[in-house]
């Protein structure tokens, strides 16, 4: 199985080196692709220095466009599996094998690593947690399947889903919306429990006001997606 690990990174020069090393020392046989989303720091240089392939976007385009560039690369490079892995050090490479297993066994097209399937293992600030819970509930109702961590960016997808994502991928706050789109296109999504590193308090990029916008945008997108015709090819 030809595996590509896609790491979107924006001004992560301080973290990206450790992230790549973490993957390399965990013995996964995979190519590493860092998407430098128009960083002003040395993200690209550090990533190349650690032996990763780097796609450098000409300007900052946001997480959706950055990740999609990775899926386009995977599609053209003929990869069987693409893994999305955060560049800020939140995801753990020792969880990768667990994420890949259902794909190796053909049990799912998309595997999402959930922080909340392991009871009480992940603590988030209360308003953040409440928002994720609400979103999880709404999405679970929409797709008639239990989803616990819709904002998780720790995912592995197979070849068919790579092709699907390289055609269409939402621009900002893509994670929750893609779950609905995948379902509409008939892909099998599976959540598995994973451990993630705790983010240090206050370093989250989502403030309260932005959180409200986040919810509004995501709910609007999901609401409209419900009436969209999504084709697999």
């Amino acid at each position: 199985m030809k595996i590509l690990i896609i790491i979107p990174a924006y001004n992560e020069a301080l973290n990206i080196g450790a992230v790549i090393e973490d993957i390399n020392t965990n013995g996964i046989d995979a190519d590493i692709l860092v998407i430098d989303d128009g960083s002003c720091d040395a993200t690209s240089v550090v990533a190349r220095g650690k032996g990763a392939t780097v796609l450098r976007l000409p300007f900052n385009m946001g997480i959706g466009a950055a990740v999609q560039s990775g899926y386009k690369y995977a599609e053209r490079g003929g990869y069987d599996v693409a893994v999305q892995f955060d560049g800020d050090g939140q995801h753990r490479a020792d969880q990768l094998e667990a994420l890949l297993l259902p794909l190796r066994q053909g049990e799912a097209d998309v595997v999402i690593g959930s922080r909340f399937l392991n009871e009480g293992c992940y603590e988030a600030e209360i308003h953040r947690y409440a928002a994720i819970r609400l979103l999880a509930w709404i999405i679970s109702c929409c797709i008639r399947q239990r989803i616990t961590d819709p904002t998780s960016g720790f995912r592995a997808i197979n070849r068919n889903a790579i092709t699907f994502f390289s055609r269409y991928y939402p621009d900002d706050y893509p994670e929750p919306e893609t779950i609905v789109l995948l379902r509409k296109a008939g892909f099998r999504t599976l959540e598995i429990p994973v451990f993630m590193k705790q983010r240090k308090i206050g370093s989250s990029s989502i403030t309260l006001l932005r959180g409200v916008y986040y919810m509004g945008k995501v709910l609007l997108a999901i609401g409209i997606d419900m009436f969209k015709k999504v084709s697999r090819r």
Binding site: T53, V54, L55, L57, P58, F59, M61, S69, R76, D171
Partner: protein
């Protein structure tokens, strides 16, 4: 013809000429001129023909006929703005695809360069 209508007629004609001139100088694409020209033509027609304006206003239950012209102008502005939002969204999408393509090509080239050096 009262003063309001004369003003509006003059304004509509000017708008029409301005759009034509912008297209002639290639400052505005025909594609984006069409809606403006439609707006200007409709406004001109209504402000020059008193009969037309008054009967249309009466039909719609508008007491003060020139306000029909403002209504038409407003509706056209709404349509033109939605049209722009659609065009901007398309441009954003194309811009994204271009940037991604650029990044992928850059990577392709640097890989080929590396192979040649070896």
């Amino acid at each position: 013809m009262d003063i309001t209508l004369m003003l509006l007629a003059g304004f509509s004609l000017l708008l029409f000429l301005l759009v034509i001139e912008l297209v002639r100088r290639s400052r505005l694409k025909e594609k984006y001129a069409i809606l403006w020209l439609c707006a200007a033509l409709v406004m001109t027609a209504f402000s020059f023909s008193r009969e037309l304006l008054h009967s249309a206003a009466q039909l719609l239950g508008i007491k003060y006929p020139p306000s029909l012209l403002f209504l038409i102008g407003l509706l056209f502005l709404v349509i033109i703005n939605i049209h722009f939002s659609v065009v901007i969204s398309q441009l954003t999408d194309k811009n994204k695809t271009l940037a991604q393509e650029l990044a992928l090509l850059r990577e392709d080239i640097s890989r080929k360069d590396l192979r040649q050096e070896r």
